[in-house]
Amino acid sequence: MSISQRPGLTVTALDRLLGFAMAATVIAVGLGFCWILGAIVAQGLGQISLAFLLAEPSNAGREGGIAPMLVSTLLILGVCLAIALPLGLGTALLLAEFTITDQRLGRLVRRSLDFLAGVPSIVFGLFGNAFFSQVLGLGFSILSGGLTLACMVLPLLIRTTEEGLRAVPPSYRQGAAALGLSQTTTLFKIILPAAVPGLIAGLVLGMGRALAETAALIFTSGYVDRFPRSLMDSGRALSIHIFDLSMNIPGGDARAAASALVLLTLLLLLNLLAGALAQRWANSS
């Protein structure tokens, strides 16, 4: 087998081999995903009903539903995003737009963020428990869980958003300056709308990580499977419910699969919502 010397689009044996290898990789990845999804759907779909989504759990989660966990999960995610989005956008703007003159600050912040992004989530959990729950006295609460998740998601959010901002061509800024636009107008009317795809990518990744999180939440937002009355109440996230049903409750497997299916659907819906919002924002400005 040798590579053909002839020019043009001649298909050689090596090309075919590479093509086959690529197709095989794609199929393997696709099959893996379908297997996971298939297993969850096969085990969980029969358990899902309106009552399952709207009822409180009983008998340690083997019976009843997951309504309190859904509410807690959404509240935790809400707190997380309410803190992480403004902070993340601000830091990304600083890094992408305002640190050209101060290289050292930018490098320092970026290094720390990349380091933080690689820290295992249980470390954030222990930090959250020590700082938010104990030092600030928030105890086991949705607030303390959401703040811990915000710390965890921030590095990811900032770095993705920064990449999005950097992808805006410099000619946009030069054009705006040539027209005499102020820095603020340039930012809100030109740069941010152009950077929306990057912002949404960061948001979607951050939401995914936050929704899937178990280790950081078990010591902060806690294990209580009741409807929270306020952000100061402890509330069990769906991911913790799935973990507990599959690892601590004999006979909880089917309910764990059903909860996992709900979590997947929730993630999908939130991603679609984020995409739709971004589309609307980009069109309106």
Binding site: S58, V79, Y223, F227, R229, D244, M247, N248
Partner: protein
């Protein structure tokens, strides 16, 4: 506590403006209970994952009787229950063993009994292991099932519990082992994880709560419990006190408790929760005479 609560107020104030929209779903406090007793406030329980599902169910029934009380149950293992009770972040700790002499600063309130059974995959032909054989297997001196009478020719996979788990403490104490001597291939956390490890590996040996194992066997999972000193493990032999590897599930407190926590402790030890204890495959304390070798 005063200091912490002022810091809490302050920190709450700073983030409050971001939260306004989110707190809208908070429910208003419920009207006063029509009964004579008006208990109110939060009770926080942390600790053993074996006790946590039972404590949650007890808490729900207690809340039905006292609508102004909330029972918050957290998990993480018995050691965490002890630590949180001592440092005050929990009102009540959950510990799935008896207190040790050096833990005399805490008061134990027994709520149920549970046993620990050695489990094998149901395809494993081994029918019984002597205590010496269990010790040898866990110390890594017996590594092949063929070294045991009736065993197949395959290596033994030793499944041990993680540090800080009461099941580990009770097991070590019964067989007079040290955790540092144990040569384990798999370290597990919660009960169901142990059962899944053994049902997924015909060569594995592990030990879990009898209640959890009975529940799994009842659902037809490929699992069997080995008899110990000739007594087969079941909630029945636990109840009559003949099964040797038994433990007490405790709620622990430090010093004098608040009236609400005291009421909950009494409730958790009363006959009103007996059906919940049985539902979670444990043995109620009244009907369980103390086993001879209780750790």
């Amino acid at each position: 506590m005063k200091k912490i609560s002022t810091i809490r107020q302050y920190s709450l104030g700073t983030v409050a403006f971001l939260m306004l929209g989110l707190t809208a779903c908070a429910k208003p406090p419920q009207a006063a209970n029509s009964e004579g007793i008006k208990l109110q406030g939060n009770i926080v329980l942390t600790g053993s994952s074996t006790v946590a599902p039972l404590a949650i169910e007890m808490g729900k029934r207690f809340e039905e009787q006292h609508p102004q009380v909330r029972v918050d149950v957290q998990t993480g293992g018995s050691s965490r229950g002890l630590a949180d009770t001592r440092n005050g972040s929990a009102d009540i700790g959950m510990v799935s063993r008896s207190l040790k002499p050096e833990e005399g600063d805490l008061t134990a309130h027994a709520i149920a009994r549970d046993g620990i059974a050695i489990i094998l995959h149901s395809e494993n032909p081994v029918a019984e292991l002597s205590p010496e054989q269990v010790v040898d297997i866990y110390q890594g001196q017996l590594t092949q099932w063929s070294d045991v009478a009736g065993g197949p020719t395959s290596p033994i996979t030793v499944v041990n519990k993680a540090e800080g788990r009461s099941t580990l403490d009770v097991f070590l104490k019964h067989f007079d082992l040290k955790n540092s001597e144990i040569q384990a291939q798999v370290i597990i956390g919660d009960n169901e994880q142990g059962i899944k490890t053994v049902t997924g590996n015909p060569n594995a040996i592990g030990y879990v709560s009898i209640g959890a194992a009975e529940h799994s066997i009842g659902r037809g999972e490929p699992l069997k419990m080995l008899p110990l000193d000739g007594v087969s493990p079941s909630t029945t032999t636990l109840q009559d006190g003949t099964f040797p590897l038994a433990r007490t599930l405790n709620l622990v407190t430090q010093g004098a408790s608040e009236p609400t926590a005291q009421a909950f402790l009494q409730f958790a030890q009363s006959p009103q929760v007996q059906d919940l204890i049985e539902q979670q495959n444990f043995v109620p304390i009244e009907s369980a005479p103390l086993a001879p070798s209780t750790p």
